[in-house]
Amino acid sequence: MPPVDFTEFFYLAPEILLAGAGLLLLLIGTLGGGIGGGNRLASVFTLLSLGLTAIALLLVGQSLAWERKLILADTFVLDGFSFYWKMLLLMATGFTVFLSYRFIEEGRYRATEYYSLLLLATAGMMFMASGYSLLTIWIGLETMALASYILAGYFKREVRSNEAALKYFILGALSSGILLYGISLLYGATGTVQLATLAERLPAAASGEMGNLVVLGWILLAAGLFFKVSAVPFHIWTPDVYVGAPTPITAWLAVASKGASFAILVRILYEGLWPLAVDWQWIVAIVASASMIWGNLAALTQDNVKRMLAYSSIAHAGYVLLGVLAVSRVGLWSVIFYMLAYTFITLGAFGTVILLERREYAGEVASDYAGLSKRAPLLAAMMLFFMLALTGIPPTGGFVGKVYLFAAAVQAGWTWVAVIGVLTSAVSLYYYFRLVVFMYLKDSTSVTPVPLQARALVAIITICALATLVLGILPGPFIAFAQQSIDATHLLQP
């Protein structure tokens, strides 16, 4: 192992900045304001630190001329892939702050701790995106996970939120354990946790007398990763957690937490377990198919919008896995392009749910959307647009992204998985359009909630809608950017 060069900590400036900001915010919380106080201050502080982190990230990237670099005894990688994810995660968390503002305000919850947890979790995600050793990745993952357990239960006066947090914690801890056990078995068989070395030693270990250990190790590792991206059959926690958690946190779990988990999934499969690609491709194919089928079928019967979106997010994990499955340049850039589109779409959709929320849980039942097109035509039109994007109908970013996920699978010869993908995505139209039916084809009643007058939130939803549209009409530069990002890695040429 090469010695650690302490000047290399400079490259960690963004992560250090973000984690420092999170801790500072926690400290500030103890000084001033009582319950619910300082919401405005804390959210501005959070946004500022996210912005500064993004700038620091750009500076670090610039100083490396966007070339790949391994630092800290080769346990931390700076490459196009990690920069892409980090920018995406920072943006998603930034949007989440806007979604959260009203929730904190209305629930009179402590703002500083909430935002501080959000920042610390995001710092963990950034470590995940850059982790180049199984342990670095695992620690990043746990940093994120511990913060998100608390955030899922932040609705502390609601039973469902408590239940969600507990379920999330128990199942999350279990999956972390499985993940860690897999890591330890692989370590036992190969004597390393560093991804490049692991890839080097795996072929010999797999065919040697430790062969069974390797198989068990990578399967457990993969199972833990599938749990984190909520793919079937490791999805059980998702619906309950998504419904119980405060809606801004649900949105954040659906995009940021899932995104970071996909980052490590791709990193581990493509770099560490690369020699076993022929084996894990089958597992990914089966898990992807199961997620697409079960996620979409289960969503058909959901009346609760958050639960429906939870199942839809399971299905979308399946679609993204299609790109992972392909093991090709097309597959890889379509994965990260799709996650970008999915981030905007999902944040926009959950933002609309938040606008309709009343006394914590209203706005969740499909009938709450009745006649929305008359009461708030713009909001309804945007929600319609998000639903079209989730289904994958042009001209939306969801369409372009999905086309290329399917394309990658077809090209790689996994046509049957792609066929399942397109057919289930046609099925998904039915439940997404249930909401549209309520918004456009049914009339409102006296109990249907009126959308809030929250300018900042409406602005964020509008930005999401516009971004979805731009990604659908002019995706060229974004696709080129995604392609450049993965070309500046060793993901496909270990």
């Binding site: 399917f406 394309a407 359009f433 039916v437 084809l441």
Partner: protein, 537 residues
């Protein structure tokens, strides 16, 4: 004439941008007039295309008024590319014309949520025009799918009693078909570039260009062609609709508002047959020949089945809907006769069906507005109180069943010639379809218009208003025009037909264009069919 004007883009996007000001309009009457103005301008702008179009353009000049290819998504080789050949020109004109008629017919039929209604009508227009103009497969697919959304709302909001069911059924069916088609498109795309599924690619730059696909399609291995053909088939056959994929159609037609039915029957169904002519046949010639018996078989079943079911209908609109299944079977049979007369007839019959079925739906809509029922049994003896209406209905009925001097005759006769030349007994079944058509149409006409007025509510029915006459007359005139002097229409599709024949079956192509015979000559060119592209005159 249009060298420097992107006339196709203007035509296509005028309705889209025209729809925006409606957002700020309040008065339904203003919206109505404004929307009519937009579609009218669009129609008038499309007319010069008919005159400026070079009927003899072939090769480079087959597709005219081309715009692009401009890079749209260069990273994956998607281009923005518009252009029309003679067939697409006819369909564009049909679309702009039916657009005007549909909007005018909605003035009195739509009484709530006018604003959204006219916005959706205009968006639909943009989607349909884009489908016929796109020369890039990706672009085509975008328009193909975008168009579903406004149609869903037209059925879902302004439809009849079972509108929700009909709307989602329409959407799901079409979507399921088109996503499979998408996989087919991607297969050709990868075959042209990097290869897929163990087939070595051609190594060309990535592109979705339809012309490029036409060029390389024939070199695809037969097995790959077969699968791609099936993928395309599902997408297009659902749209046509071919038996057994037709079940969405009666629901959608019956529940849709009049204008929706007109557009559905007049234009949307044509998108399916258009897809077969533009993509399936020229890109996949070997698979086309291989699957010919199946295609013809399904078409014949559609013709006979549609006719028989139409006979049993008690609802006028449903009857017309099933007659569409039968008539579109005719079109498909003509196309898959794969010879000059068959293709010519098929394309002309697409236009004919748009005109006559569009007119039939408008006519049914007129009495529905007055009586709010479409049950045949509710009527009887109408000709006494509505003589002008009865006359026009009769003309359109005759056009629909293929009476000489009217357009239906030209199309059906040419198709029969084509089918007979390919396999004689196809023509026998098709002729049976014509007999059935005459039976159900005339029987309906008899029950609705003749005899004494049995229902007292029908005694005071008003005859056509000036507006109603105004939107029916253009269709009647066109029916006569194609019936009496079809030459201009056959002339304009002459080159596109020759192009397709050259692609699929070089021995059938007219000698003067046989210079560029594609690499893989089809083997099933045994039917000694005369390449008489001007049959039917």
């Amino acid at each position: 004439m249009f060298e420097n004007i992107p006339i196709l883009s203007i035509l296509c996007y005028l309705p889209l941008f025209g729809a925006i000001p409606i957002l700020w309009m309040r008065d339904p009457a203003t919206i109505r007039k404004y929307a009519t103005g937009v579609v009218m301008v669009d129609f008038l702008l499309s007319l010069p295309l008919w005159f400026a179009f070079d009927r003899n353009g072939r090769g480079e000049n087959l597709f005219q008024f081309q715009e692009g290819p401009f890079e749209w998504i260069p990273a994956i080789g998607v281009n923005y590319h518009f252009g029309i050949d003679g067939m697409a020109l006819l369909l564009v004109l049909l679309t702009t014309l039916l657009g005007v008629l549909a909007v005018v017919s909605s003035w009195s039929a739509i009484e709530h949520r006018e604003k959204e209604y006219y916005i959706f009508m205009l968006l639909l227009q943009t989607g349909m025009l884009g489908v016929f103009m796109a020369m890039d497969f990706f672009l085509f697919y975008v328009f193909w799918e975008v168009m579903l959304v406004p149609m869903y709302f037209l059925i879902g909001i302004w439809g009849g009693a079972r509108k929700l069911y009909a709307a989602i059924k329409f959407f799901l069916y079409t979507l399921a078909g088109s996503v499979l088609m998408l996989l087919g498109i991607l297969a050709v795309y990868f075959y042209n570039s990097t290869g897929l599924l163990g087939y070595e690619g051609l190594g060309n730059p990535q592109t979705f260009s339809v012309l490029k696909f036409h060029e390389i399609g024939a070199s695809m291995p037969a097995e790959l062609q077969f699968w791609v053909f099936l993928a395309f088939f599902v997408g297009f056959a659902i749209k046509v609709p071919m038996f057994p994929f037709h079940t969405w159609l009666p629901d959608a037609h019956v529940e849709a508002p009049t204008a929706g039915s007109v557009i559905l029957a007049g234009v949307l169904l044509k998108m399916g047959t258009y897809g077969f002519i533009r993509f399936s046949i020229p890109i996949l010639p070997d698979a086309t020949v291989e699957l010919l018996p199946w295609m013809a078989g399904l078409s014949i079943v559609g013709i006979v089945y549609g006719g028989l079911v139409a006979m049993a209908q008690k609802d006028m609109k449903k009857l017309v809907a099933y007659s569409s299944v039968s008539h579109m079977g005719f079109v498909m049979l003509g196309l898959f006769a794969l010879n000059g007369p068959g293709l010519n007839g098929g394309i002309i019959q697409m236009i004919n069906h748009g005109l006559s079925t569009g007119a039939l739906f408008l006519l049914v809509g007129i009495v529905y507005e007055r009586r709010h029922t479409r049950a045949i049994a509710e009527y009887g003896g109408i000709s006494a109180v509505m003589p002008i209406y009865a006359t026009i209905f009769l003309i359109i009925t005759m056009s629909s069943i293929g009476l000489p001097a009217l357009n239906g005759f030209i199309g059906e006769f040419t198709i029969l010639v084509g089918a007979f030349n390919r396999t004689w007994w196809w023509a026998v079944f098709a002729a049976l379809g014509i007999v059935l058509g005459a039976a159900y149409m005339l029987w309906m006409y008899q029950r609705v218009f003749f005899g004494p007025i049995t229902n007292s509510e029908n005694k005071n029915l008003k005859d056509l208003s000036g507006r109603e006459l105004g939107y029916l007359l253009p269709l009647v005139i066109l029916c006569f025009w194609i019936g009496l002097y079809p030459k201009p229409f056959f002339e304009i599709i002459k080159e596109p037909v020759a192009y397709i024949l050259e692609k699929v079956d070089p021995s059938l192509a007219p000698p003067q264009v046989a210079g560029t015979v594609p690499a893989a000559a089809s083997t099933a060119a045994t039917a000694a069919t005369a390449a008489d592209t001007s049959a039917g005159e």
